[in-house]
């Protein structure tokens, strides 16, 4: 059996096993889910080992005819390149962590919870590996459902509103993409991305523009870019911790990945022409998210808005359309997954103890929970792009890319976006101050227990990567560089043609 198929559907194994466990045996179910996700991680590592980082092309391809109707063909086509492997690894790493983090937080309907989680993993991995647009769309939409349930069943008080909002927004965007996918399939009677790439150049310019927009709206909502972001705070606030981790860590990346994988490759001309507009939206998102983060009292909401800001960097980077921007953008996807994922974990840990996320209910926690304080500090610093930690490498590359971008053509993009770095410090440090510094003002907080071993285990892998990418990101750049350079070269050729 093909390796990529195995990776994608390995969670099914766990699902099948869990289905036959009685729902009272929560502990067993948790272990099965955890082991399954670790198995997926192991398989992903195997993919990583088989992957040839010097090759810019798609590798380990699986291509099986799937639906064949008289005049056209849909194939089950998977593949991995330097860009998707990073996100594959991110997903594979974050899922076990998320499962582990919900060990005690989720006590109701553990069986269903774990089922949905493993289903979600299938969807996410599938999105990053699928090469046939039809297949991609299926995974894309499919990933919605488990997340919808995770928010709606195990979420906070307004979970239903948030879940529906999440579902409707994402679906509204993606269904336009479906039309664009259909359009693309008309000509060649297939939906295979590698084959479409060869013919897409012949699409008339104005149609390219429309197709680009149809894809872009789907991805922009998912990312989310301003002004399509308003589902995100609600979804994050109401989602259970693990859901938030996955949502921020992986699901948002699906949008950004979509931009890289489809918008930039299929419609290079449109991408080049619209790049300044996308960049403007991205920058508005950066500043806007940062300002709104600052106004929040709820920690999770703060982190949610910070996601909008951070994902703005990701989008800005890719539409800088140069090596620095695109590579930084891809790295930043991973970075954001690690840092924001970790932040959500941290918020979740304290929520589990105190059942509130209102920052005014805290203060002086550092004294009571020193380990928690230090870990949060590190993650916070990573999130605000302190040099030496992962966030800086990504954001610096992106800003450099935006600044030097010939396609954007103005220093203003990079310059204004860099202001986001200042604002990030403002809201993140404010949060840190309100929660961890100052005297302990609430008596309930005095008896809080510091992180336990399980919780620390959740964070350690993330912290390792936070430091690793911050200090020695070279392996990561090496992994994606050939693929990214191939992409950028094609785009720059398009830029030459457009200008």
């Amino acid at each position: 059996m093909e390796l990529l198929t195995l990776v994608t559907f390995s969670p099914l194994l766990g699902i099948l096993v869990i289905l036959f466990i009685r729902s009272e045996q929560k502990e067993v179910i948790r272990w099965v889910a955890l082991i399954t996700s670790i198995l997926t991680l192991a398989l992903s590592i195997l993919v990583f080992l088989r992957f040839d980082p010097t090759n810019p092309d798609l590798q380990l391809m699986v291509n099986i005819p799937w639906i064949e109707v008289s005049d056209f063909q849909i194939s089950y086509q998977l593949g991995v390149d330097g860009i998707s492997i990073m996100l594959l690894m991110l997903t594979a790493i974050l899922t076990p962590i998320a499962i582990l983090s919900s060990w005690t937080a989720i006590q109701d309907e553990v069986k269903n919870y774990m089922l949905f989680f493993l289903l979600l993993e299938i969807g996410m991995v599938g999105v990053f590996l699928a090469l046939d647009l039809f297949l991609f769309y299926i995974f894309w939409e499919f990933s919605l459902i488990p997340m919808y349930f995770l928010i709606g069943v195990w979420g906070g008080p307004r979970r239903i509103y948030a879940a529906i909002k999440f579902f409707l927004y994402t679906m509204a965007g993606s269904i336009l993409m479906l039309l664009a996918i259909l359009w693309l399939g008309l000509e060649g009677r297939h939906f295979s991305l590698p084959a479409l790439l060869e013919t897409s150049a012949s699409i008339p310019q104005n149609i390219q523009l429309w197709l680009f927009l149809a894809f872009a709206i789907a991805f922009a909502i998912k990312v989310p870019m301003w002004p399509f972001h308003s589902w995100l705070p609600d979804a994050h606030v109401e989602a259970p911790t693990a859901g938030s981790v996955i949502l921020a860590g992986v699901l948002l990346k699906m949008g950004a990945y979509g931009f890289v994988r489809f918008n930039l490759t299929l419609f290079p001309h449109a991408a080049v022409r619209l790049a300044p507009w996308m960049a403007v939206l991205a920058i508005i998102g950066i500043i806007y998210g940062a300002i709104l983060s600052f106004a929040q009292r709820d920690m999770k909401k703060l982190v949610a808005y910070s996601s909008i800001s951070h994902m703005g960097f990701v989008i800005l980077g890719m539409f800088a359309i140069n090596f620095y921007g695109v590579q930084g953008s891809i790295l930043q996807m991973v970075n954001h997954g690690l840092s924001t994922g970790a932040l959500f974990l941290l918020v979740g840990f304290v929520y589990e103890r105190r059942h509130t996320r209102d920052m005014s209910q805290f203060g002086g926690l550092w004294k009571i929970m020193p380990i928690y304080g230090v870990l949060t500090l590190v993650v916070t610093l990573s999130s605000m792009a302190l040099p030496g930690l992962n966030g800086f490498v990504g954001e610096f590359s992106i800003l450099l890319g935006a600044f030097e971008s010939k396609v954007l053509g103005s220093y203003w993009f990079g310059g204004v976006a860099a202001l986001g770095v200042i604002l990030a410090a403002v809201y993140l440090l404010t949060m840190f101050q309100k929660v961890f510094l100052g005297p302990v003002t609430h008596d309930e907080n005095k008896s809080l227990k510091d992180l336990n071993v399980r919780e620390i285990i959740c964070l350690v892998p993330l912290l390792i990567f936070i430091f690793w990418i911050g200090v020695y990101p070279r392996p990561f750049f090496n992994l994606m560089a050939p693929a990214a350079e191939k992409l950028v070269t094609a785009l720059q050729a398009a830029a030459m043609a457009v200008h």
Binding site: L292, Q296, F396, L400, A418, T430, L437, F477, N478
Partner: protein
């Protein structure tokens, strides 16, 4: 040459302390921390010696860091005379302050009531030294930026070291945040400068950049001016210059060793170092240099005026630091890089000395307060840093007094102490290069001497104005010995670059091109010494004499400032001839304090009103406005209202579904008529 890396040792100490600190107790922690820094100093000395043979320096490549296309930034260390100077200074002063801190923090954690936090202090301290080493030994701008932000982080952590203390329990934490955020504004400048550099040069390596500046500089003056101006913005943040100086006074919330090491001797000089490092760029961009000089000079003068009005012993020193940094910036601005670096080093000695001594004073007072409290139940809030609670400490703390005096005189520029030489070199340069700068600096020099005189007089002379002062006692040798060493350095530090010998100049010449040697200017020296003496005399007239004469003085005297003086006829004559000049100054400094008549140090107009209220509150209000009105009220509401409109239509449609068959039939009929109508139109 074996690659010597100071970071190794401080990182090692850091790691050991992080891992074992909690279990192994203060003794071990302090030992590890001090020996780590000491080792770093040793390595720095070895490097210094090695450089004697190879003054052109060397670059140590450790690893690749960020490599994207033609952007290649390594982790690499640059060892040359400039960085070696900084390393020596930093590690040297650090070692002394570490040792001092062993004693100081031992007491401090007990006063503040959390002995468990002792190891954490040294972790931060070591981290700071490591970051500072990265900063000074970086061989490219980006790596320098790593250290640059790293020291900022440590500064943040150390200012907020007693994060549950301060105003409303949160004051220290807020001060830390303020420092970090203000620095970030500077860092923004630094970032943009880097982008511009990369855009122009295609590299961030110092070597490449400077080479480019030398070969293509004249053709790219515009770009270089932009680059240097943005770098200058970075420097004003880190080195607390106008308009970003505001964080530094608040940063005094950190423990005194922190103020001494980070906020006086080392970190704040990073901006000066960076500009000195970027000399090849600045020497091309005349405009930027001019702006830098002007900012430096204005800051020097401005901060000095404020220092005159302060009562907090550390605040005076803080403003003094800002003022002195202004000197250095002015120096590098007018092209006197060596003079700037020279003053940087000597300032490190005597300002560290002053801060540490003030810490000694504070702790002495705290001891006194503690002792005097025995037998008294409770006690009103007591500020051990308020100079009005001091007085007459000369006798209670003799060692501290003497070293403090040396530091103060050095700062005031009294020969033959270190400050005299370094400051004079700047003034001499300024007198040649830029008259406005010279006048501002000279005026600042006068004020410097005045406020230092005022401080000495208020703290060490006169009567003990509080019980605490009466019970104050001298500290342990672990604190006083470093003070004495520093005092010695402050005394002889001028020897580094004596007029006529210029050892530092020739040393730095290997690294910084375009150095011009400024010869000793007798005229300038005489004027500045005269000004200093005059100022000290004035201070003595104001404070020294009155204190002694009046004895038990109302501590609220200065609340009313000049008005009070006006009411008190006793000194009217005394004040008249000496305060003719002083009153406007005092008024000026007081005018910058929010809330006339209220002694609220540290809440100057600029930083309190503009920064806290206009910017801080305004930003918060903006954020909340955007959150509630724009995001929820507009964007969210827009999308929600689409759902709302749909639901509304749904209700309308529901009404249409009336249940009456005839209505339904009518609906069918409407369809019929419409379709037939359409067909008729089509068929025609």
């Amino acid at each position: 040459m074996r690659p010597p890396r100071q970071e190794d040792s401080s990182f090692l100490g850091l790691l050991i302390n992080i891992i074992f600190g909690r279990r192994l107790g203060e003794r071990f922690v302090s030992l590890v921390a001090c020996s780590a820094v000491g080792l770093a100093f040793l390595v720095a000395v070895l490097q210094f010696l090695a450089l004697q043979g190879h003054p052109e320096g060397a670059t140590v490549h450790i690893a690749e860091w960020i490599t994207i296309a033609d952007l290649s930034v390594p982790w690499a260390l640059k060892i040359d005379t400039l960085s070696a100077t900084m390393m020596l200074m930093v590690t040297g002063v650090s070692t002394l302050i570490h040792i001092y801190a062993v004693g100081y923090m031992h007491e401090d954690v007990r006063f503040q009531g959390d002995p468990g936090r002792y190891p954490r202090f040294f972790i931060y301290f070591n981290l700071f030294v490591a970051a500072m080493m990265i900063l000074v030994s970086a061989d490219n701008y980006l790596m320098m930026f790593v250290g640059w932000e790293g020291v900022g982080l440590c500064s943040y952590l150390l200012i907020g070291f007693w994060y549950e203390k301060g105003e409303d329990g949160i004051g220290n934490a807020i001060a830390g945040k303020k420092a970090f955020v203000t620095n970030r504004i500077g860092d923004f400048g630094f970032l943009v400068a880097m982008f511009l550099i990369f855009g122009a040069v295609g590299s961030l390596q110092f070597e490449d950049v400077f080479h480019w500046a030398e070969t293509n500089g004249l053709a790219n003056v515009g770009v270089i001016t932009a680059i240097t101006l943005f770098l200058l913005l970075g420097a004003t943040g880190k080195s607390a210059q106008l308009p970003l100086y505001v964080w530094l006074p608040d940063a005094m919330a950190g423990p005194t060793p922190v103020s001494a090491l980070i906020h006086a001797a080392t970190m704040v000089t990073a901006g000066i170092y960076m500009i000195a490092r970027s000399a090849p760029l600045y020497s091309v961009a005349d405009t930027s240099s001019y702006v830098a000089a002007l900012i430096g000079a204005v800051t020097a003068f401005y901060a000095a005026t404020i220092a005159v009005g302060q009562f907090d012993i550390k605040k005076v020193l803080a403003y003094s630091t800002i003022s002195q940094l202004g000197y250095m910036l002015a120096a590098v601005g007018i092209g006197a890089y060596v003079a700037g670096m020279f003053h940087l080093v000597t300032h490190a000695f005597f300002k560290a000395l002053l801060f540490l001594s003030s810490g000694s004073v504070i702790q002495g007072i705290e001891h006194g307060h503690h002792d005097s409290e025995h037998g008294h139940a409770g006690g009103e809030p007591f500020d051990p840093q308020d100079m009005r609670n001091m007085g007459g400490l000369r006798t209670r703390m003799p060692i501290t007094f003497w070293v403090y005096l040396i530091g103060a005189l050095a700062l005031s520029g009294i020969p033959p102490l270190a400050g005299f030489f370094s400051k004079d070199e700047i003034l001499a340069d300024a007198s040649l290069e830029n008259t406005i700068v010279y006048i501002l600096l000279a005026a600042a020099a006068f004020l410097t001497a005045f406020y230092m005189g005022r401080q000495i007089l208020m703290v060490f002379f006169g009567k003990q104005r509080s019980e605490a002062a009466k019970h104050a006692r001298e500290n342990r040798p672990v604190m006083t010995v470093p003070l004495m060493i520093l005092a010695g350095l402050a005394f002889v530090g001028g020897g580094l670059n004596l007029p006529g010998i210029h050892s530092l100049t020739s040393w730095l010449e290997h690294t910084i091109a375009h150095i011009h040697v400024t010869e000793f200017n007798v005229m300038v020296s005489v004027v500045s010494v005269a000004l200093a003496l005059l100022a000290i005399g004035a201070a003595w007239l104001l404070y020294g004499r009155v204190t002694m004469a009046k004895g038990d003085r109302d501590p609220l005297r200065s609340i009313l400032g000049p008005i009070f003086i006006g009411m008190e006829n006793k000194w009217w004559v005394d004040e008249l001839y000496s305060a003719l000049i002083l009153n406007p100054y005092k008024r000026l400094s007081r005018a910058l304090v929010v809330g006339e008549g209220e002694e609220n140090e540290g809440s100057e107009f600029w930083e309190h009103f503009v920064h806290e209220i206009v910017i801080g509150k305004g930003y918060r209000a903006l954020a909340e406005f955007m959150d509630l009105t724009v995001d929820l009220g507009f964007i969210d509401a827009f999308f929600n209202s689409m759902a709302g409109v749909t639901a509304w239509i749904a209700q309308r449609l529901r009404k249409l579904q009336s249940g009456y068959v005839r209505n339904y039939a009518l609906s069918v009929f409407v369809g019929v008529v419409l379709i037939l109508g359409y067909f008729i139109i089509t068929a025609r």
